[in-house]
């Protein structure tokens, strides 16, 4: 999710209005179906059965995002081996809004909490809840599958998410799929699930 590291500075400093951001040189690339693709600079790979766009901007060092219509409308993010003491994604304000960190001794039940708390802080929202949680096999490892819903601060779009994750040798591997609850979540759910199903080490 690129939006995770958008600056959240709520000061109405007048002069900042003229600072017009130019579109980033993105380097989005096409993912063709049928070919195995290594993701998130890790040993994790998926084999898409339909085409996707890979976004040039990364949420964090060991993560990457795929999308169909733009990350605000559908967002599959891969986390490949977030290690002990690392955060899920880049911190915007490390001193005042530090993100929670992975611990190599985390229980599988701690994974949804890590995501929830990271989002609360990074997106500045209290409107997030973890809904269902169940054990699952993820990339051949014992892991957890959970669903969640959230709304970002300053936005009124209800969003839903579904994630699969596992701790492997003390590192967190995870695939999340997020989209607006209205129409978009259901629309790409099957394709996103196929990606997660195909995950392998």
């Amino acid at each position: 999710m690129r939006a995770k590291f958008a600056a959240v500075l709520t000061v109405a400093a007048p002069i900042v209005a003229i600072w017009a951001a130019s579109p980033a040189l993105a380097g989005n690339s096409l993912i063709a179906p049928g070919k195995k693709a290594a993701v998130a600079r890790s040993t994790l790979s998926v084999t898409p059965s339909s085409e996707w766009n890979k976004m040039g901007a990364r949420p964090g060092r060991n993560s990457e995002t795929w999308t169909l219509d733009g990350d605000g409308l559908n967002d599959v993010t891969f986390y490949g081996g977030v290690g002990d003491g690392q955060t899920l994604f880049k911190e915007v304000d490390k001193a005042n809004r530090p993100l929670p960190r992975v611990s190599s001794t985390m229980l599988v039940t701690d994974i949804p909490t890590l995501l929830e708390n990271s989002y609360r802080i990074a997106l500045g929202t209290s409107l997030i809840s973890i809904d269902a949680i169940e054990p699952t096999s993820f990339a051949g490892e014992k892991g957890v599958r959970f669903t969640y819903s959230f709304t970002k601060q300053d936005e009124e779009v209800r969003r839903r998410g579904e994630a699969r994750a596992a701790m492997v040798k003390g590192k967190l591997y995870m695939i999340t799929y997020e989209a607006p609850a209205l129409h978009y979540f259901d629309r790409s759910l099957t394709a996103a699930r196929e990606l997660a199903d195909s995950a392998k080490f």
């Binding site: 007048p14 001794t105 039940t109 701690d110 708390n117 609360r120 802080i121 269902a132 949680i133 014992k142």
Partner: protein, 393 residues
């Protein structure tokens, strides 16, 4: 408008004079006259109001608004008791789900109160102090003045930057000077609103001494946050260059001085406040715990437990410690969960937290026992199937 400002200034004088003369407690007759719901007349004011009317429309439909009528009525009641019926009549209050300590009031009469504020004040008097401060901005019509001041200053800043850049000098020094003027203006406004809020308290059933307490605790919480993050505490008497508000230390001092002069008394209504918040406390505590601020959250919990550790507070503390999860934290967490259970914490979650804390601190057998109890109490829990796998090991 000049007439309005003169009226407000006179009102302020009158209000303070009556406070110094120790006006009778709680009598609304002691309050200065209030010009009715103000209609904007100058072009600037109408512009800002219109923006806000669209904004209020959005606010009304926002998912972040807490709709509970009981809570809304209660907050409104405290506000009206603080500023008087005449003033509170046309104000619309929106309680927002947001863990930060904040309340804002817009020039069109809409007020937002964050749940983080409700979590931190300990009685009706303290809540009234903060809401009164916000209404003070409104009555003194600060928003627009601030807006105008910013416009003039940024114009100067822009010109200055260009000239200096053209001349090859360092533009940042000049820039800083202008910014300091903008923010200094805001600092004065904040102090005015503080003192206005105190006036309201003096005329209300609440003790004005409550105002200073809020800031003192906020400072202590910030210090605790910093300590928890192994950072230096930030407080100094003089406001830092970029501080929009006078520092909490300065505020606490002048508020305490002013309250001392007023010499009013009253019932801060702590028990009534706790009772009104009871239903929402677990949710607000949850929002706070999840902010990854161990020091600040632990301080807050200890403050709230001043009159005794309730099951809800113990549960929250246990969650906090289990979250940080240093080895000793897990032992403490287990202890707090057990205490909560012993004191009658009703929810099955306490067994869950206890079980997980024990398992993670190498006490697997006891941990699994607790988890089994969790599953027995709540077989349809959303994570029942996952917890079952931990029990089976």
């Amino acid at each position: 408008m000049m007439r309005m400002r003169a009226l407000a200034a006179t009102a302020a004088l009158f209000g303070f004079a009556s406070a110094a003369a120790a006006a009778p407690k709680g009598a609304d007759t002691a309050r200065p006259p209030y010009a009715q719901a103000y209609e904007p007349t100058t072009v600037d004011e109408r512009g800002l109001w219109q923006q806000l009317d669209d904004a209020e429309r959005q606010l009304r439909d926002s998912k972040f608004v807490i709709l509970d009528p009981a809570l809304n009525d209660y907050v409104r009641g405290v506000f009206c008791r603080t500023v008087g019926d005449e003033r509170c009549r046309n104000v619309r209050i929106y309680v927002m789900r947001n863990p930060n300590f904040n309340a804002t009031m817009a020039p069109n009469g809409m007020m937002e109160v964050y749940s983080g504020l409700l979590l931190r004040v300990r009685n009706e008097a303290e809540l009234g102090a903060v809401l009164g401060h916000e209404f003070g901005h409104f009555e003194l019509r600060h928003s627009l003045n601030g807006f105008k001041m910013k416009r003039i200053s940024t114009d100067i800043a822009m010109w200055g930057t260009l000239l200096i850049a053209a001349g090859g000098n360092d533009p940042t020094r000049f820039q800083m000077g202008i910014l300091s003027r903008i923010f200094a203006y805001n600092r004065n406004q904040e102090k005015e609103a503080d003192l206005k809020g105190l006036e309201y308290l003096v005329s209300s059933p609440y003790p004005s001494a409550a105002a200073a307490n809020v800031w003192e605790r906020l400072m202590a919480e910030a210090d605790a946050t910093a300590a928890g993050r192994k950072q230096k505490a930030q407080h100094s008497y003089a406001a830092g260059f970029f501080a929009d508000h006078p520092t909490e230390l300065a505020r606490a001092k002048y508020l305490r001085d002013a309250a001392g002069k007023a010499g009013d008394e009253g019932d801060p209504a702590a028990a009534a406040y706790r009772s009104a918040l009871d239903k929402w406390l677990p949710a607000f505590l949850d929002d706070q715990i999840k902010l990854n601020d161990f020091g600040g959250s632990d301080y807050l919990l200890q403050q709230l437990a001043g009159d005794g550790w309730t099951p809800d507070l113990l549960y929250a503390r246990a969650e906090l410690y289990r979250q940080r999860a240093n080895p000793r934290d897990l032992v403490s967490a287990a202890q707090f969960y057990q205490e909560a259970i012993d004191k009658g914490y009703a929810g099955a979650e306490a067994r869950r937290g206890l079980g997980l804390a024990l398992i993670r601190s190498q006490q697997g057998e006891q941990g699994r026992t607790a988890l089994r109890e969790y599953l027995r109490m709540k077989p349809d829990a959303p994570d029942a199937s996952l917890i079952s796998t931990l029990v089976a090991d």
